[in-house]
Structures are given as C-alpha cells and as structure tokens.
C-alpha cells in the first residue's frame, strides 16, 4: 500500500512538473503579450552627426520603447554601434558575449560566419511556432520571404531579410545647360552619349572659358563597377539566363557577367580619347570628384539615382547653381541600350538585397526579439518614424504627399527618414503617398526631375531570380579582398593604353579568379546542381 502510495505520489509529482514546465514553455506569452515584462537590447547605428541626438535615447526611441511596452510588455534598450564600423563593433560585442539581442547588418556573409561559430539563433523553430504573431513583418516583406535564407540542407534560418521599397540604383546624369549651349539634344543612345562627350571636350573653351583645361567630359571613380555600371552592362547579352546571373552574381557590380569586358574596353577607349577624368584612378574618396562637379567642370557621370541632390544646401545641384548660374544643372538620361535595344538595369529585389537582421545566440528572449522585428515592420510605426511630427518634421503637400522638413533640435533624425530605426525597411514606405513624397524629398529640385531619375534607374529593370542555395563557403574565405582586386583590375584596364587593354584586363581577371573568384563560381555551380538539379555549363 505504501509502495503504491509512493508511486502515485511520484507520478503526481512528475505530472505536476510536466504541467508547470509546459506552462514555462509557454514563455508567459498570452494573447500576443507577455504576462511579465521582458527586456531586450537592440542594435542602432551611431552616425555621430553634427547636431544629432544620442541614438539610444531621443524622441524616437522614447516612442519605440513605450509602444513596445504597451503592445508586447517588452522593455527595449538600445545599444549603439558605429555606422561605418558596424561589423567590427558587432564582432567585439559578440566575442565578449554582449551582442544586442536584435542585430542588423548589410553583410549576410558576416551573419553566416557568426552562425558557423554557433553565435546566431536559429529562427526557424520560432517562426514555425509564432508565425501567426508576425503579421506586420509578413505584410512588409511577404510571408514566403520569412524563409528567404532557410538553409536547403539543414533547414536552419539565421537571418531575416529587410525590405528596400525603392530598389532604384543608378542613373546617368548630364549637364543640360552644356548640351543646350552646343545645340545638342539629350542623348538617347550610347553613340549619342559618346558624341556629346566629344563635343564637351572639343568645346571646352566655349563651355568653361578660362578654365578650359579643367574640362572633364565624363567622370568615374575607382569603383568602376558602380560608376560605369549602366554602360558596362549594356554589353551583357540580353538573353543571359537566371542561372548565369546567379553563378556570376557574387557581387552587385556585375563584373563576372558575360561580355562585361567589352563595356570596359569601350570605357578604355573613351579614356584614351581624353573623355574621362584622367586622374580618377588615384583618388580613393569622392571629395575631389564631388568638388569638380560642384565647380561645374564635369559634363556627365553615372551614380546613385539621387546623387546630385543629396545633402540639401550642400548638394552638387545647389553648389552648381551657386558657382555657375541658375541654368546649370544635371538632368537624368537613359541611353545605354543592349543587344536587344533596351536600356537594361540589373536590380536587387525589393526583399533580399538590403539589410539583414539576426538574433545572436546569447539572446535569452528570442521571441521578444522576433516580436520587436515584427513591431518595427508595422506600416504605421514606419510611417511615424519616417514622417514624425507634423509641422516640425513634415508638412502635408498637395495630393496627400509628405514634404519632409529638415528638423533640428530634439526632433532631428540622425539618419535620412530614420532608416536606422526602421531596421527592416530601408527607404520611404508611406503607402500610396510614397512616390509623391519621394519626389518632394529634395528641396529646390523639381519633382518631375526626381521622379524621372528614379524611373530611369528602374526602366527595363531585371531582378535576378533568387536561388536559395545556402551558405557559399568560398565567399567566407575572401573577406573584402576580392572587392579591392576588382577595383584594381577595372581601374588598371581602363587606364591602360588601348593596345595593352587585353593583357591588363586578362591578367587582372586571372588574378581575381585565382584569388577566390573561381572558387565562388564553382561552388555556386555545385550548389545549383545539388539543390535545384540544374546542370550549369559555362559558355
């Protein structure tokens, strides 16, 4: 009898334990809210901008903290890391076990590297269990995209992709006033663009007078892969397959795409005709080039689609007007057609090519951290962070557009449109008001010009298909060394004498491939076969 009683007691005890631990597994999370207050830390970029506020403690963080507490009963604390030393800073924080519970970075490779060290929480089981709680995140990036980086072999998921609502990249700009002066129209083909550059060069005296020797018909920088992209890729065959885009798509500069070399050959020819800034190869920062544009010496260039209008009163456009006159301005054009006669752009997808968030394994509250990512993806939260206080941060313009004002004092935004806080969303996200508001984002610049530049950057855009092949180990090995190899090879090829072009380009490419480029291509081909059963044959 005693024995039975003991057994019963033991069973009861185990049952109670089971029940209580079942409750514990519930994490005190009832009806979408924690029953007890949880505490998480969140990474935030520190830009140390003049007149900025403490990024961990200001009106925006006050709003976020309060809203998170109200909605989920989660207390949020912000941890700042340097915007331009983000990877180093997070390295250090991870190494001492004090990484924020919610981290974000542009570098997916870095996250996978941490994951291989066991430093990142696998989100798959959490999304599985709490997927219903992530409605806002799903609405922003799409439900399928939650699993964008799910490893096809192991099923692990180490990061969540953010959105970049406006995926425009690069537009070509040309001096409208110079064209007018010379009686030329806006170039619509590569040949016309080239002719315009020749005309600038030959009419330097007319256009610049005493400063004729400072004439630079076209500038580029040592980042030729970005700064000459549209011209270079106009030589890439239009029928390039999605698989080719993947296999040769290690970096977003497109250098490995077939026939890319011919675009660089063309630029080399321009360089040797005296159409390109002679000393571009020596300057590794943009100050010198920006100054030439501001002073009015530069005829045309290719850059981020809003480049001439950035920085308000100190923008290239504003300086140009001050230095040269009210007519002086850069206008967008779209003139580099490929073999199919269209002005191709290779764009990143709205989801998958921007910032990525992850939760380090030191995080004790992965659910709370995940809910933060959901909260920050809420359309209203994003709208508030991007617009702010009416009258201080914005005024309503015609047609429901938000005209953003450069606020100072406590309502200042440390990053443009608060993109550092809207961690899962990089770029204006205001629903129907987005486009009209974007057009009003550049004081003093006509909305039509802005819309046109943005449109051109996406005209005939092609988004490479997403092949989810898991981590490519060869990419871990190279660090940033391939980036500098790429810039060196392109810069040397462009500045070579025409007869030395092939030798220079081929030698540089051979070195690039031998230094890890080929290993990446090979592994991508291998993975494509493994995961998708696709037999890739290099042409």
């Amino acid at each position: 009898m005693k024995r039975i009683l003991a057994l019963v007691l033991i069973v009861a005890m185990i049952a109670t334990l089971g029940v209580t631990s079942a409750f514990a597994a519930d994490d005190g999370f009832v009806d979408g809210k924690f029953t007890e207050t949880r505490h998480i830390t969140v990474e935030i970029f520190n830009r140390n901008n003049d007149g900025g506020t403490d990024p961990t403690n200001n009106v925006w963080t006050d709003y976020l903290k309060k809203a998170m507490l109200d909605r989920y009963n989660v207390e949020v604390e912000y941890v700042s890391v340097g915007r331009w030393t983000e990877v180093d800073d997070v390295n250090n924080l991870l190494a001492i076990g004090e990484a924020p519970d919610v981290c974000y970075t542009y570098s997916g490779t870095t996250i996978l590297n941490y994951a291989s060290m066991g430093g990142v929480t696998d989100l798959a089981p959490y999304i599985e269990e709490y997927g219903d709680e992530l409605g806002d995140l799903k609405a922003l990036i799409g439900a399928d995209n939650l699993y964008y980086d799910k490893d096809p072999a192991t099923g692990t998921l180490y990061m969540l992709q953010g959105a970049m609502p406006n995926n425009g990249r690069i537009t070509t700009f040309i001096r409208q006033d110079w064209l007018t002066k010379l009686g030329l129209g806006l170039p619509t083909t590569r040949q016309e663009f080239h002719d315009a550059l020749v005309a600038f060069r030959d009419n330097a005296e007319t256009l610049l007078g005493a400063d004729a020797d400072k004439m630079v018909p076209y500038t580029t920088s040592t980042d030729i892969g970005w700064r000459n992209d549209l011209m270079s890729i106009s030589f890439v065959p239009n029928d390039i397959t999605d698989e080719e885009l993947y296999v040769y798509g290690y970096d977003d500069r497109h250098m490995l795409y077939p026939n890319y070399k011919e675009g660089i050959r063309e630029l080399n020819a321009w360089y040797n005709e005296g159409l390109v800034w002679k000393d571009f190869a020596l300057y590794t920062d943009s100050t010198e080039e920006d100054n030439m544009m501001k002073a009015g010496y530069v005829g045309a260039f290719m850059h981020n689609w809003d480049y001439p209008w950035r920085n308000g009163e100190d923008s290239i456009a504003a300086n140009l007007v001050r230095n040269v006159g009210p007519d002086a301005m850069y206008v967008p054009i779209d003139c580099f057609e490929n073999d199919a006669g269209i002005t191709r752009k290779f764009l990143g997808d709205v989801v998958g090519s921007d910032r990525k968030s992850f939760i380090p394994s030191t995080c004790d509250e992965p659910l709370a951290a995940l809910l933060y990512l959901n909260f920050i993806s809420n359309a209203d939260v994003i709208k508030y962070l991007q617009t702010g206080l009416e009258g201080t941060n914005y005024v309503m313009a015609e047609g429901g557009a938000y005209q953003i004002l450069p606020a100072t004092g406590e309502w200042v935004k440390n990053s443009g449109n608060n993109i550092d806080y809207t961690m899962t969303c990089n770029g204006l996200y205001l629903g129907d008001a987005t486009d009209a508001s974007t057009a009003l984002s550049y004081p003093g610049i006509s909305a039509d010009l802005v819309i046109q530049a943005n449109n051109y950057s996406k005209t005939n855009g092609r988004i490479a298909k997403h092949f989810n092949c898991g981590a490519i180990e060869a990419e871990n090995d190279v660090g940033t060394s391939l980036t500098s190899k790429r810039d060196a090879l392109l810069t040397k090829a462009v500045t070579a004498a025409p007869e030395a072009f092939d030798a220079e380009f081929d030698a540089g490419m051979a070195d690039y491939l031998a230094s890890g480029g080929q290993a990446i291509i090979d592994e991508r081909i291998e993975k494509l076969a493994e995961v998708y059963g696709y037999n890739f044959v290099a042409k």
């Binding site: 990877v87 430093g119 300057y283 190279v478 660090g479 940033t480 500098s484």
Partner: protein
C-alpha cells in the same frame, strides 16, 4: 649553498632593503601581465577552428594538427604577395631610410649658429606629428599624374604614384621626409656625449672637418647606430598599416598590399580571425628570429648589442 648565504644576500634581504623600489615595480608588472602576457593565451586561436565566441582553449583544434591556417596562408597567393611587398618596402626603408637620420644628425651637429640649428631641428621634427591620412591627401594634390601641382608646374605627366615602381620610390621618400628629423633626436643625444677633448686632440693632430667626422663623430655614435639597426631589423616583417593603406590606390595594389592590409581585409573585415592570428604569429616569430640573429651578429663584431 652555505657560501652563498654568507657572501650574497637572500631575496628577503633585498626585499627588505629595497621594498619601496619593488613596490614601484608592482604596477608596471601588473600592466605587463594583464595587457601583454594574458592576451597571449589567445595566440592559441592560430591553431584552432575559427571561432571568437568561445575562449580559444575551448575551441576544437584546426585541421592538420592545428596548422590548417599556416598551410592555408602559405598556399594563398595573396598572402605571399603581401609577404613580398612587406619585405621589399621594409628593406628599402632600412637601406635607404636608416642612414638618413645619421647624416642629418651629423649635418646638424656641424652647424655653427645655434639659433639656426634649433630652428632647423624644429622644422625637421614637424612632419612627424602629421598623420599619414593627411600626408596622403597632400601627396595626391602634389603628385597626381595630371592634376598634381608638381606635374602642372613642370608641364609633365609623371606618374609619381601611378606605377608600382614610382609608387615605391614615393613611399620611401615620404617616409624619410616624415620620420628622418624625428629620428635624429637619438643620434643628436648620442653626439652630445662625445667628449670635446677628442675633437681638440684631433684638431691638434691636424684633422680637418671630414676627418673629425670620420674618426671622432662616427665612432662615437657607433653603438647607438648598431642598436637602432638591430631594432630595425627586428621589424623587417612588421608592417605599418596606415602608411601603405592611405598612400595606396588601385593602380599600385600590387606593390602596396602589405601583411597588415591582408590581415585587415581577411581578419577584421572578413571575420577570419584564426587565419589572421596565424599570420600575425608568423610575423612575430620571424621578427624575433631576426632580432636574435642581428644581436648575435653585433656581438660577434665586438659591439654591445641590445642585451
């Protein structure tokens, strides 16, 4: 041991007698233990799998009995290039750069007018206080192939920093310009210790200026020269970061990418901590070997050496 007790003092006696001095030594020793020796435990990382999230002694050994990263580095063309560039630049610095402060110090020493001497010295020291970031941007304005001030003035287009061999020359000359004056300090100090009587004696013997420099001044600072040479040889594989990094441009990476930049690209930017620790360890070991070797050589030639 009996003899010792009577003839020498035990450590307790020393401690009792000089305890204030030892006390003074405690803080520096603590500093060295905490900041110089304890971190050395992390050298283990060079032999372990790449992981910074756990202490290295808990991480599994790397492949090939722990030598995976060393093998990888020496099979990596980029590392070998960096190694070559480091040695070439340091050797050039050593051969061309190290005699300069000696010559400069002797020249200064020969200056008769003290005020002018002091002014010259100060002017020579100044570049030492400029950072390479500033110097590199001045360099570009002066030496750019087409837009540079010098080429404009000469009406030429000499690629001072645009080809690898020219870039090396510019790199060495800028190094001399920046550090030469500063490095004269130690030689000038050594010069003041030479007894004036030697000069007077030489004069009596009818020695001219050059004779005096050759027979009195140079021998007087010989041991200083040797010590500095040994220390420089110890750095033959060491590499500065900011100098090659800021002066570099894409046209000359073939000459400018040194080990420090390799470590930066792979380790800090690429999270390959084990590989970069291995490379760093290799650098240190070679430096120590060079240091020992040159010290031994110095002693062999009858000099005092560093220790």
């Amino acid at each position: 041991m009996k003899i010792n007790k009577h003839m020498g003092f035990s450590w307790k006696t020393y401690l009792k007698r000089y305890w204030t001095l030892y006390l003074l030594l405690v803080l520096p020793i603590v500093f060295f233990v905490v900041f110089r020796y304890t971190p050395m435990a992390y050298i283990l990382l060079a032999f372990k799998k790449n992981n910074i999230l756990q202490p290295p002694w808990q991480v599994a050994w790397a492949k090939n009995n722990g030598f995976e990263w060393f093998i990888k580095a020496f099979n990596d063309k980029n590392f070998l290039d960096a190694l070559r560039n480091t040695i070439v630049l340091n050797l050039l610095d050593l051969i061309i750069g190290s005699p300069m402060p000696i010559i400069m110090a002797i020249l200064l020493n020969e200056l008769a007018y003290p005020k002018f001497k002091r002014l010259t010295q100060t002017v020579l020291y100044l570049p030492h206080f400029l950072s390479w970031v500033i110097i590199s941007s001045i360099t570009l304005r002066l030496f750019a192939t087409n837009d540079g001030l010098i080429n404009k003035a000469l009406g030429t287009a000499i690629p001072f920093v645009g080809t690898e061999s020219n870039w090396r020359a510019t790199y060495i000359i800028l190094g001399i310009w920046k550090e030469c004056g500063w490095n004269t300090i130690i030689y000038l100090a050594a010069l003041t210790s030479i007894s004036p009587e030697l000069y007077e004696a030489a004069e009596v013997d009818g020695a001219g200026r050059l004779r005096k420099i050759w027979h009195v001044t140079l021998p007087g600072i010989r041991s200083t020269i040797i010590v500095l040479l040994i220390m420089n040889l110890g750095h033959i594989l060491g590499s500065e970061f900011d100098r090659p990094f800021t002066l570099s441009n894409p046209l000359v990476v073939g000459a400018s990418k040194t080990i420090s930049i390799f470590v930066y690209e792979r380790g800090i930017q690429g999270s390959q901590f084990s590989l970069s620790t291995a490379v760093g360890l290799f650098q240190s070991v070679v430096c120590v070997i060079f240091l020992l070797l040159s010290n031994w050589l110095a002693k062999k030639f009858g000099e005092r050496g560093v220790w």
